[in-house]
């Protein structure tokens, strides 16, 4: 299973990963539109991102959420009807929503943020 692994002890809370992610998928630099989110109220910070556990897959009423060959949980935008049931069942609060947007979104382990992280706090790994 391909997954974005986080190393909070290395994280310097620069939030570059959030900028990278939201800019890539929504063309906007907004932390709430990022699949990875850094909560820096604590030390080390909390790096919240999908661990591909698949809890959302069974909850989806339209079967819009599937697991690809690499073990990554994917959302089909054409099948998704935006009910957000997947957001509620996510045990790590990593299924994202932005009210007003039609579909939830999540980390698909694309690795874009790994490349821009200046502190080596992120890695794509096989688990």
């Amino acid at each position: 299973m391909k997954v974005l692994k986080t190393y909070p002890e290395k994280c310097i809370s620069c939030h570059v990963c959030e900028t990278t992610c939201s800019s890539l998928y929504f063309k906007e630099d907004k932390a709430e539109l990022s699949c990875i989110q850094i909560h820096d109220e604590t030390n080390p910070p909390v790096m919240n991102v999908c661990n591909q556990c698949q809890a959302c897959v069974a909850a989806c009423p339209t079967c819009a959420i599937t697991v690809n060959k690499q073990g990554v949980v994917m959302i089909s935008r054409s099948l998704c009807i935006g009910c957000l049931m997947c957001v509620a069942v996510c045990p790590t609060d990593s299924m994202r929503t932005a009210f007003g947007k039609h579909n939830p979104f999540k980390c698909i382990a694309c690795g874009a943020c790994v490349k821009t992280c200046p502190a080596d706090a992120l890695a794509i790994v096989e688990e």
């Binding site: 069974a58 909850a59 989806c60 009423p61 339209t62 079967c63 009807i81 935006g82 009910c83 957000l84 049931m85 957001v87 509620a88 069942v89 929503t97 009210f99 007003g100 039609h102 579909n103």
Partner: protein, 710 residues
């Protein structure tokens, strides 16, 4: 498929505005006329949508003299402005109305499945069916291209589990698009008997079967078949989160997500809807002496342990998104997969059975002493596919079993069937007879009211005894709760406009267990508020369950926990978010009050709606037989002493029963007086002109009917 198009109508597709299409669809299967009707501002202001639109359209369509089998009788199906949103749990309901063959007055059913939302998104706020077809037809609405067709249907099987699936496969664009088609159908029994239902399908992508939800009460299936309709089919492929075009999508999403999270956190420790659906109530009702057993004689028996919800949990496939509409995280519509019936035409064939829900488990289980859960599942399956209402079936079979026990019926009169308590083979055979159109099943399928008359007239049975034990009012069979020890629930059932169904008010715990509404005034207030609040679901296209089958963690600490104030606020919020119209908790009740009073006057117009129609059989009020009295003698003796002020010592059981009966019947009449007054009605149950004016339901046609009764 050998199918001819008898009529075709093309319409312009256009987006919904704030929950409304502003047009309805009229289809006359007799004259083959298909047309659109505009939805006026008056309709929205006075009737809102859903049941309100249904009743308004039906009022125009029928005459005072219309009977269920007249061509002008209508089947109306409407959806409401909130229906079809995918954000808030329980938002996919259709409301079906027709003049009922059982009651002769309008009946309304609230049903899930995808037909309602898809028909709404195809472009219509209601579907109005009238006429009688010369040959069997299908009405097809193609919401993707804007075409409505009446088509011949000579070849298909009628039974729903086959027909729904066949039609979905026929009308879907391809194998991966079955979920965009929904079917309304009934079954073979609807050709022959009156206690029938309509099945609304939704395609279950995981199971790859057509699931069926029931518009259960009042014989809608029989009207459907009388009209020569085999099925209604709708196709709509464009569903998105904003298809209902709400004015404030973020608020709608936020409110929905809040409830999703509440359900995720609380359902496992509250109602366990995810695991077992409404059948979680079985042991609760048995524990509180409220589970109907032996035709509502008793509320508790040790044998009922075998129908504990854990038995159904074990039969239901777990871990599925079992919502009857998208976005319902309560997921209560459970299914038994690969069930192999042991009787009937589908014996040995693996089928998917929806339910049993509580009403079915109690009505077709405990009430007839069917103690094997698999027998309940089998009765459930055949009821659904034959188009029989499980509630009326359970109550009707319980009635004939008690008649059999008392010698009113015997094998000679039942065509050889031994109707002893718990004989599930006989119960299933009655069901198969209803489908085949033969035998004693045809009599049972007429419902309790007609059976009472037949048994008295043809078998010389004691009419008063039959009246006392026959659990019907207005012609409709009671649903499955014991109301003997809750005066408020006796009212909740028997004052319900369409007949004794628990969807207007369920007050047993408030009244009997918690004693929160001790006075007549308190009970009357509850019997005003809750029926009005629950009517609102039917105006909007919503399900009742997410209102109080899940509660916020702090609900018990609120001022009025029975109302679930936070959820009421949610409804106000989502109504405003979708329609953009002002709303508060008072206006919410007022919306309902207008339609509720309209329905009441509609009942009066059709010859019902009188005080005499609001009287329960004594079995719903107190112990009819000595056996019943003695089974709870300590309770009844205590009540004699403490409530009635009579010392039971030295009195015969018959004497004590007589005193108890007079007291309870008098209490009930006092309750009716209090409720009528609170509702703004005269002592005869007629809405006053002043009240109709105050609530804004003083339409000339309404006043014209009311004046006949004042």
């Amino acid at each position: 498929m050998n199918r001819k198009v008898l009529a075709e109508y093309r319409y312009t597709l256009k987006p919904i505005e704030k929950g409304y299409n502003r047009r309805t669809l009229y289809v006359n299967v007799g004259t083959k006329e298909i047309k659109e009707k505009p939805v006026t501002d008056m309709m929205i202001d006075k009737f809102v949508g859903g049941k309100g639109f249904d009743l308004y359209l039906m009022w125009q369509g029928v005459k005072d003299s219309t009977k269920w089998n007249d061509p002008e009788n209508e089947i109306c199906i409407s959806f409401g402005p909130l229906c079809g949103n995918t954000s808030y749990p329980g938002s996919g309901k259709s409301i079906v109305t027709t003049i009922s063959p059982l009651t002769g007055i309008p009946v309304d059913c609230n049903v899930g499945g995808h037909f309602g939302p898809y028909t709404k998104f195809a472009g219509f706020d209601a579907l109005e069916l009238q006429g009688i077809a010369e040959e069997d037809v299908i009405v097809y609405i193609d919401g993707d291209t804007g075409i409505v067709k009446i088509m011949t249907a000579p070849d298909e099987k009628i039974n729903s589990h086959i027909l729904a699936e066949d039609l979905i496969k026929e009308f879907a664009d391809s194998e991966d698009k079955h979920q965009f088609v929904s079917v309304v159908s009934t079954g073979e029994a609807a050709n022959n008997v009156l206690i029938t239902c309509l099945n609304f399908s939704f395609w279950d992508k995981r199971r790859k079967v057509a699931r069926l939800k029931q518009a259960g009460r009042g014989g809608t299936g029989t009207v459907f078949r009388k009209k020569g309709i085999k099925a209604l089919v709708v196709k709509y492929s464009g569903l998105k989160v904003d298809t209902n075009n709400p004015v404030d999508l973020p608020t709608l999403q936020k409110t929905g997500l809040k409830l999703h999270k509440e359900i995720e956190a609380g359902d496992d420790t509250q109602c366990r809807m995810h695991q077992v659906g409404t059948a979680h109530l079985m042991e609760i009702m048995n524990d509180y002496d409220l589970l109907p057993i032996r035709n509502f004689k008793y509320g508790q028996m040790p044998e009922a342990e075998s129908l504990h919800s854990r038995e159904f949990t074990a039969l239901f496939t777990q871990g599925m998104a079992d919502g009857c509409w998208y976005g319902c995280s309560l997921s209560c519509c459970k299914a038994v997969d690969n069930f192999k019936p042991r009787t009937g035409p589908y014996k040995g064939q693996p089928v998917c059975v929806d339910g049993p829900e509580y009403e079915t488990a109690a009505g077709c289980g405990s009430n007839i002493c069917a103690w094997d859960p698999r027998d309940v599942v089998e009765i459930n399956f055949y009821c659904d596919t034959y188009g029989v209402d499980t509630i009326s079936f359970g109550t009707s079979v319980a009635f004939v079993m008690e008649c059999y026990e008392n010698g009113i019926l015997n094998k000679e009169r039942t065509g050889g069937l031994d109707l002893s308590w718990g004989n599930t083979d006989a119960a299933l055979e009655l069901l198969h007879q209803m489908a085949r159109g033969e035998g004693f099943g045809l009599t049972v399928g007429l419902g309790v009211r007609r059976m009472k008359k037949i048994f008295a007239e043809e078998f010389g049975a004691d009419a008063q005894f039959l009246q006392d034990i026959g659990m019907e009012a207005k012609g409709l069979e009671y649903s499955q709760y014991m109301s003997k020890e809750s005066l408020a629930q006796q009212g909740g059932y028997t004052l319900a406009l369409k007949g004794p169904q628990h969807d207007e008010a369920w007050l047993i715990f408030m009244d009997m267990v918690n004693n929160h509404i001790p006075t007549f005034k308190d009970k009357a207030e509850a019997l005003h508020y809750f029926p009005m609040f629950r009517t609102w679901f039917g105006l909007q296209g919503l399900c009742k369950l997410p209102w109080n089958d899940i509660e916020p963690a702090n609900n018990a600490q609120t001022d009025e926990p029975a109302k679930v104030p936070e959820h009421v606020a949610n409804y106000v919020d989502i109504y405003k978010a979708i329609t953009g119209k002002p709303m508060d908790k008072k206006e919410l009740i007022l919306q309902s009050e207008r339609v509720y009073n309209f329905q009441k006057v509609f009942c009066m117009r059709m010859g019902g709606g009188r005080r005499i129609d609001d009287i329960p059989p004594y079995r719903a009020v107190g112990p009819v037989t000595e056996e019943e009295y003695n089974s709870r003698a300590e309770r009844y003796d205590k009540l004699l002493k403490e409530k009635i002020g009579v010392d039971p010592e030295g009195k015969t059981v018959a004497e004590k029963m007589d005193i108890t009966r007079k007291f309870r019947e008098d209490q009930y009449q006092q309750l009716v007086d209090a409720v009528y007054e609170r509702k703004g009605w005269t002592k005869e149950g007629v809405p006053t002109l002043e009240h109709l004016k105050n609530i804004g339901m003083d339409l000339p046609e309404v006043l014209e009917v009311v004046k006949r009764f004042l």
